[in-house]
C-alpha cells in the first residue's frame, strides 16, 4: 500500500484517512507565509508516491513542528510525523538539509547543538559557564561518534 515505506519509520501515521478538511492548513504558521507550503498537500503527495518530488523540492524542511496540525486533525493522520518520516528518507538518500548536518556535527563535537562559547553580558563581559558557577559539560567525542555509528546515522560527520 502507498505510504508503507513511511509507516515503517513511524508506525502511527495514517496518510490514507485524510478527507481534506484543511484544518491543518488553516492553523499552519508556515503556510501563512509560504504559498506553496500546505501540510495536507505534502501528506497527499507522499501517499500518492511523489516522494522524490517532495524531497527534491526541499519543502519538507520548512515544517517548524509546532504540532498544531497533528493535534487537531480529526482523523489522526499526524502530518507533522509524516514530514519527520520524509526527512528521514531524504537523509537516507544523503539529502539532509545543511542546517541539520551542522547540528549533527556540533553534537558529535560538543555533545550539544551549539558550542559553549560563553555569553556577552550587558556590561560587555564574556562569561563562561565556570564563571557563573555552572557545571561544565564533559562529553567524549568518541562516545558520540560511536552512538552515531551504531544507530546508523546517515551523515558523514568528518573528523
Amino acid at each position: 500500500m502507498l505510504g508503507t515505506e513511511l509507516k515503517k519509520l513511524i508506525s502511527w501515521i495514517q496518510p490514507e484517512v485524510c478527507f481534506g478538511c484543511n484544518k491543518c492548513v488553516s492553523g499552519c504558521p508556515v503556510a501563512e507565509i509560504h504559498n506553496e507550503y500546505r501540510p495536507n498537500r505534502i501528506v497527499r503527495l507522499a501517499y500518492l508516491g511523489f516522494v522524490d518530488e517532495l524531497i527534491e523540492s526541499g519543502v519538507i524542511w520548512y515544517c517548524t513542528q509546532c504540532l498544531k496540525c497533528s493535534e487537531r486533525c480529526p482523523m489522526e493522520v499526524y502530518p507533522a510525523s509524516v514530514i519527520v518520516a520524509l526527512r528521514n528518507i531524504a537523509s537516507k538518500r544523503g539529502m539532509t538539509h545543511e542546517a541539520w548536518v551542522k547540528m549533527a556535527k556540533n553534537v558529535s563535537i560538543y555533545g550539544k547543538i551549539l558550542p559553549d562559547m560563553g555569553v556577552m553580558s550587558k556590561d560587555r563581559k564574556l562569561l563562561k559557564r565556570e564563571d557563573l558557577g555552572l557545571v561544565a559539560p564533559a562529553i567524549s567525542r568518541d562516545l558520540i561518534r560511536r552512538l552515531f555509528k551504531e544507530s546508523k546515522l546517515p551523515i558523514d560527520i568528518g573528523e
Binding site: 491543518c24 492553523g27 487537531r72
Partner: protein, 656 residues
C-alpha cells in the same frame, strides 16, 4: 416413521459459489444417511428456489429439510413458510450457514468446501432428530407504550391511535413536542416549525385513545413481547394543570433564577416556569432543584402561591407510580446536542461570541431570549460578519466518529435566515463538503450561494478573540489557495445530536442493545430499521440515530406500522423454543432462577408441592438455565443435549 431429508444448497450468486464448490458439496450431501435428494440453485430464497423445496415435499415425500445458505437471521422465516405451505411442520427445518460462517470468512476453496461439508453434515444429523413443534399462543395486550413525546413519538401515536390501538406517551419533560418546539423555521422549505408541529400536538392530545404522561419516566419493565409490565414514575408538577391558566403571575414573583435549559444557556428562567407558550399541558411547573421551598424542605418563600389567584399551586404533591401492561413499546427518546466546550481550541464557553447551532436556533426563535433577534451575546448588538464552522465534534476520532447528518442543512438554513433578518451581512460557512442529500436540499444549498453566502471548503484550526469580543477566524480556502483572515462578530459551531444518559438508562431497563455510537440498535440497518433485536420493542426517530424531521417522521410511521402488524392478531405467536422444567428431576436448587437474565423463572407454591415455572412470554430460549441446571432438568425442545451431541459428532467425523 421414515426420515426423508432434502438438502438444498444455495450459491447465493457468487457469495457462496465463488469459494465453496457447490457441486462437490451437493454430491457429498446426497450420500449422507437419510438424504433422499440434494439440489443446488443460484438463489434458494427466490420463488424458483423455494418451489424446488415445495415440489420435493409434495412429490418426493421429503419430510425433513436442510437449506445450506446464508445465516438463519436472514431467511429462516422464509424457508419455514415454504414448509408450512407444503403442509410440513415448519420446525422440521435446519439451516446450515455456509455463507457468514464459511464462504465469507475463508479464502481457500478446498478448505472452505471441506468445512461446508462438515456444516451440512451437522445440519443433516440434527434435522434427523428434530420433532414437530407448535407455536405458543398468548393473548396480546393491544396497548402501545411510546417512550418520548417529540415529533417521532407524536406521529407514531397518531397513526396507532387512528388504527384503533390504545396509546400511552410517557415524556420526561414537563411538555411534549421535543426539540422541534424551539426551532424557528425548518429546512428546506422554511416552514415555521410551530405551524407544522402544533396542529399535530393538538390532534394527538384530542384523540380519545391516547393518554399522555408528562414529567414522567419509565422506571421498570418486566414481562415480554405482547405482555410488557411497565412501571411509570409520575413526578409532581406542584402545579395543578387543570387549574393553571398560564397567566405568569407566579413567575413574576418567584425570586429564584436558574439557567434556562430550553435556551441552552442563553438566558434564565424562574424556578416556577412554563417551558414555552405553546407547551402541552399548558401549565406552569416547579423545578424542585431550583425552588427554595422544595430544596430546603421548609415553609419558606411561597410567593408564587400568594400570587396565584386560581389556587393552582400545591407543594404537597408527591411522586406517583403507575403500572400498566402493554403489548408493544416504541422508543422515541431523541438525542442530546453535543457540548463543544470539550474542543478547547474553538473557545466555546470562554469566548462569548462563539455559540452553538442550537443556541443560534434559540436566538432566531420569537419565544427565545432575544425575541427572534440575532444578537451577539457579548455586546447585544447585531453581527455584521458571521462564520459557521461545520462538523464540530463529529467525523472526529476524538469525539463522535459519525456524521451528524443535519449540520450542513441546519447551517444553510441559519445563514439564509440571518440574511433575511439582518440584511447586509457577510456570512461564511466553513465545511469540508456540504451534505445536501434530501429532497430539495441541493436546491436549498444553491439558493444559499445565490444569496451570497460563502462556502469555504476548509475548517479553522483555532479561534482567537480580540478584546472587544470579535473573533479572528483563520481558515484555508483551497479553491483560492488562500488562508483567509476573517474578523467575525459571531461564530456558530454547527454541532449535532448524540445519544444521552437516557439511552443508557433505557437500554438497561428494556434490555435493548445499543450500537457503538450509543444510539438504540436497530434489528437490521437496511431490512428492519424501526425494530430492535428484542421482539415487541421498536424504535422511532433520532433515538436510533441522528436524522432530520422528514426522516424522523417516516421512521416513526414505519415503527407504527411494525407495531400494527405485530399486534394485529388477537394472539401472539411465540416460538416454541422455551425452557421446559421437568419437575421430577428438579432439585429446587433455584440456580436457574438466579441465572436467568430475563427473570423468566419463578416459584409456584401450592399446598402439595413447590414447582418452578417458566413464563413463556418472557423466556427467550437463550439456554443459560438449561446449562446451569445441575440435574439436567431443564431442556429446550429441539435443542436437547443429545441433539447437540449429534451435531458435535458430525462435525468431528474424520473422514469426510
Amino acid at each position: 416413521m421414515d426420515i426423508r431429508i432434502g438438502v438444498y444448497i444455495c450459491h447465493c450468486g457468487k457469495n457462496i459459489a465463488s469459494t465453496v464448490n457447490v457441486d462437490e458439496l451437493r454430491e457429498f450431501a446426497s450420500r449422507l444417511p437419510n438424504v433422499i435428494v440434494a439440489r443446488d440453485y443460484i438463489y434458494m430464497c427466490s420463488s424458483v428456489g423455494q418451489d424446488l423445496i415445495r415440489k420435493d415435499i409434495e412429490e418426493l415425500g421429503v419430510n425433513r429439510v436442510v437449506v445450506a445458505a446464508c445465516s438463519p437471521t436472514m431467511h429462516l422465516e422464509t424457508f419455514r413458510r415454504v414448509l408450512e405451505e407444503a403442509g410440513l411442520n415448519k420446525y422440521l427445518l435446519e439451516m446450515a450457514n455456509i455463507r457468514e460462517k464459511c464462504s465469507w470468512v475463508h479464502t481457500d476453496p478446498k478448505k472452505a468446501t471441506e468445512k461446508a461439508k462438515r456444516i451440512v453434515s451437522m445440519a443433516v444429523k440434527k434435522v434427523s432428530s428434530v420433532e414437530p413443534l407448535q407455536e405458543i399462543r398468548r393473548r396480546i395486550h393491544k396497548k402501545v407504550l411510546i417512550i418520548g413525546g417529540g415529533v417521532a413519538g407524536i406521529h407514531a401515536a397518531i397513526e396507532l391511535a387512528k388504527a384503533g390501538y390504545h396509546v400511552t406517551i410517557v415524556e420526561k419533560m414537563p411538555t411534549i413536542g421535543g426539540k422541534m418546539m424551539f426551532f424557528d423555521k425548518t429546512f428546506p422549505t422554511l416552514d415555521c416549525a410551530q405551524c407544522i408541529l402544533s396542529p399535530r400536538i393538538s390532534e394527538v392530545t384530542k384523540l380519545e385513545n391516547v393518554r399522555i404522561f408528562t414529567n414522567s419516566e419509565v422506571v421498570e419493565v418486566t414481562g415480554g413481547p405482547g405482555d410488557f409490565n411497565v412501571r411509570i414514575l409520575r413526578k409532581p408538577r406542584y402545579v395543578d394543570e387543570m387549574k393553571c391558566v398560564a397567566c405568569g403571575n407566579c413567575a413574576e414573583k418567584c425570586p429564584v433564577s436558574v439557567p434556562n435549559e430550553w435556551w441552552f444557556g442563553l438566558g434564565e428562567r424562574k424556578a416556577i416556569y412554563i417551558p414555552f407558550p405553546q407547551a402541552y399541558p399548558n401549565s406552569y411547573v416547579i423545578d424542585p432543584d431550583a425552588c427554595l421551598r422544595l430544596r430546603l424542605r421548609r415553609d419558606v418563600c411561597g410567593l408564587c402561591m400568594q400570587a396565584c389567584d386560581r389556587n393552582a399551586i400545591n407543594f404537597d404533591m408527591k411522586e406517583e407510580f403507575t403500572e400498566d401492561r402493554f403489548g408493544a413499546i416504541i422508543i422515541a427518546i431523541g438525542g442530546e446536542p453535543f457540548e463543544p466546550s470539550k474542543i478547547g481550541e474553538y473557545g466555546y464557553g470562554e469566548f462569548k461570541n462563539v455559540i452553538t447551532g442550537i443556541q443560534f436556533e434559540v436566538l432566531t426563535n420569537v419565544s427565545g431570549p432575544t425575541k427572534g433577534e440575532i444578537l451577539c451575546p457579548k455586546t447585544g448588538r447585531k453581527p455584521k460578519t458571521l462564520v459557521f464552522i461545520q462538523c464540530v465534534g463529529f467525523r472526529n476520532e476524538n469525539f463522535n466518529r459519525y456524521c451528524c447528518r443535519t449540520g450542513c442543512m441546519a447551517s444553510i438554513k441559519h445563514a439564509i435566515l440571518a440574511k433575511e433578518k439582518l440584511g447586509d451581512v457577510d456570512i461564511y460557512i466553513c465545511a469540508p463538503e456540504v451534505r445536501a442529500f434530501g429532497k430539495g436540499y441541493e436546491e436549498f444549498y444553491k439558493r444559499a450561494r445565490e444569496e451570497g453566502i460563502k462556502f469555504i471548503r476548509g475548517l479553522p484550526s483555532e479561534l482567537k478573540e480580540e478584546e472587544d469580543g470579535t473573533l479572528i477566524v483563520e481558515v484555508y480556502d483551497p479553491i483560492s489557495d488562500k488562508i483567509l483572515n476573517i474578523k467575525a462578530d459571531l461564530v456558530v459551531l454547527s454541532t449535532g445530536l448524540q445519544a444521552s444518559e437516557n439511552h443508557r438508562n433505557l437500554s438497561e431497563i428494556l434490555k435493548v442493545p445499543r450500537s457503538p455510537d450509543g444510539f438504540i440498535l436497530e434489528k437490521h440497518p437496511k431490512l428492519d430499521p424501526a425494530a430492535t433485536p428484542i421482539a415487541g420493542i421498536f424504535v422511532a426517530g433520532v433515538a436510533q440515530g441522528p436524522k432530520d424531521i422528514p426522516d424522523s417522521i417516516s421512521h416513526a410511521e414505519a415503527a407504527a406500522a411494525r407495531v400494527m402488524s405485530f399486534l394485529a392478531k388477537d394472539e401472539l405467536e411465540l416460538e416454541p423454543f422455551k425452557a421446559e422444567i421437568n419437575n421430577e428431576l428438579c432439585s429446587k436448587c433455584l440456580i436457574c432462577m438466579h441465572t436467568c437474565p430475563f427473570n423468566a423463572i419463578s416459584i409456584a407454591e401450592t399446598d402439595s408441592e413447590v414447582k418452578l415455572i417458566v413464563d413463556e412470554v418472557i423466556c427467550t430460549g437463550c439456554g443459560v438455565c438449561a446449562s446451569s441446571c445441575p440435574t439436567g432438568a431443564i431442556t429446550i425442545p429441539n435443542i436437547l443435549p443429545k441433539q447437540i451431541m449429534l451435531e458435535v459428532e458430525a462435525a468431528l467425523e474424520v473422514s469426510i
